[in-house]
Amino acid sequence: MSAGPMRMRATLGSGFTDVRVLMSHVMETGQRKDASGQVIPLHFIQNVTVKLNGKTVVEGEVSQAVSRNPVFSFRLKGGQKGDKIEVSWLDNTGVTNKTEGAVA
């Protein structure tokens, strides 16, 4: 399965850079049943990584308890316009996706 779209916005706040990222993912808990009564298997993002100018600054591990179509906000120290931000994720089936952008 290919990964759905991702969106990221990095904006300069007061003293920090606000990074907001949207991810398209089902985040299945493994407890839901489909129309035919079959349990829908666990399927969720496990790892989230934020890089600033190529250097990892946030490393996250998450569970199936994160809501469907996850939204995360992070804050980076200082930062300036044009700084490169990359956010990526990896799910429990090995699917991965990433998005890049510059601080605006």
Binding site: M6, M23, S24, V71
Partner: protein, 267 residues
């Protein structure tokens, strides 16, 4: 032993203490609503909707990019904020979804059956109509809502919608006004906006279509009306019918002037 008992009593009391005594329900639910709106994934669906707008489909194999939403063929900027409105080529008032359906039939040459087969999607697969609507609506961000009010048919639609809003029927004798007619009322713990008054409906019409967190789906105003009638225990409103467009016209005119701030995120 006594201490344990006392502890038990204290716990039971705490559990029985009504929530209202502890927290301001209105303030806290509004805070939840505000926080979910700040972290809205609605934008993800706008991207998919834009792809569909540009996708060649139907017997004529053309995209919807030539569709006239009221601002000229292909113009999506600020189009949603000026709907519903009268369209001379169809000689009727149309809301966004009715107009999109019209374009699917006339531009793309699709049959009504094909285009309207699946207007409401589910959490695993949103409908084409929902994705298109959320994309088009997103192109009106910041534009004050200004539906058509000058043409006789636009005025007629408002007046019809206004009458229908208060019209009681269905197995439980409900009208829209049964739940949305009085201020500060709730169903369970959900506060109900007064839709017949500008102050109650302005923020509503300026945030639909919307992402609903309770089912992780993007939903449109046609769906909102459809699902209200379901819960009002009426028969099913026909998608894009005069009744549904008249209600949307009534609500949008009542709430006009508010800058469009959607697509929103709601419960």
């Amino acid at each position: 032993m006594l201490k344990t008992l006392m502890g038990g009593v204290a716990l039971a009391l705490a559990a029985a203490m009504p929530l209202q005594a502890q927290v301001d329900i209105r303030k806290e639910t509004q805070r939840w609503q505000q926080m979910i709106a700040e972290g809205s994934p609605a934008e993800l669906f706008e991207i998919e909707g834009e792809d569909l707008w540009k996708k060649k489909q139907g017997p004529k194999n053309v995209s919807l990019e030539g569709c006239d939403l009221g601002q000229g063929p292909g113009v999506v900027k600020a189009a949603y904020a000026r709907l519903p409105r009268y369209f001379a080529d169809a000689d009727r008032v149309m809301d966004l979804e009715t107009r999109l359906l019209h374009c699917m039939l006339t531009l793309q040459g699709r049959s009504r059956e094909d285009a309207a087969r699946r207007v409401f999607g589910n959490e695993d697969r949103p409908s084409e109509m929902e994705l298109l609507s959320i994309y088009i609506a997103g192109q009106s961000r910041g534009v004050p809502m200004a539906p058509g009010t000058r043409h006789a048919k636009e005025r007629e639609a408002f007046e019809l919608g206004q009458k229908l809003f208060f019209h009681r029927a269905g197995a439980w004798d409900f009208s829209c006004s049964s739940c949305h007619g009085e201020a500060d009322k709730r169903i369970r713990m959900q506060f109900l906006p007064v839709m017949s008054q500008p102050e109650g409906v302005r923020k509503i019409v300026a945030t639909w279509p919307t992402y609903l967190v309770r089912n992780a789906q993007v939903k449109t105003m046609q769906w909102r009306i459809w699902d209200c009638y379901r819960q009002m225990r009426w028969p099913e409103p026909v998608f894009g019918s005069e009744a549904t467009v008249a209600l949307t016209q009534y609500l949008t005119v009542t709430g006009q002037g508010e800058p469009y701030a959607g697509p929103g995120t709601k419960r």
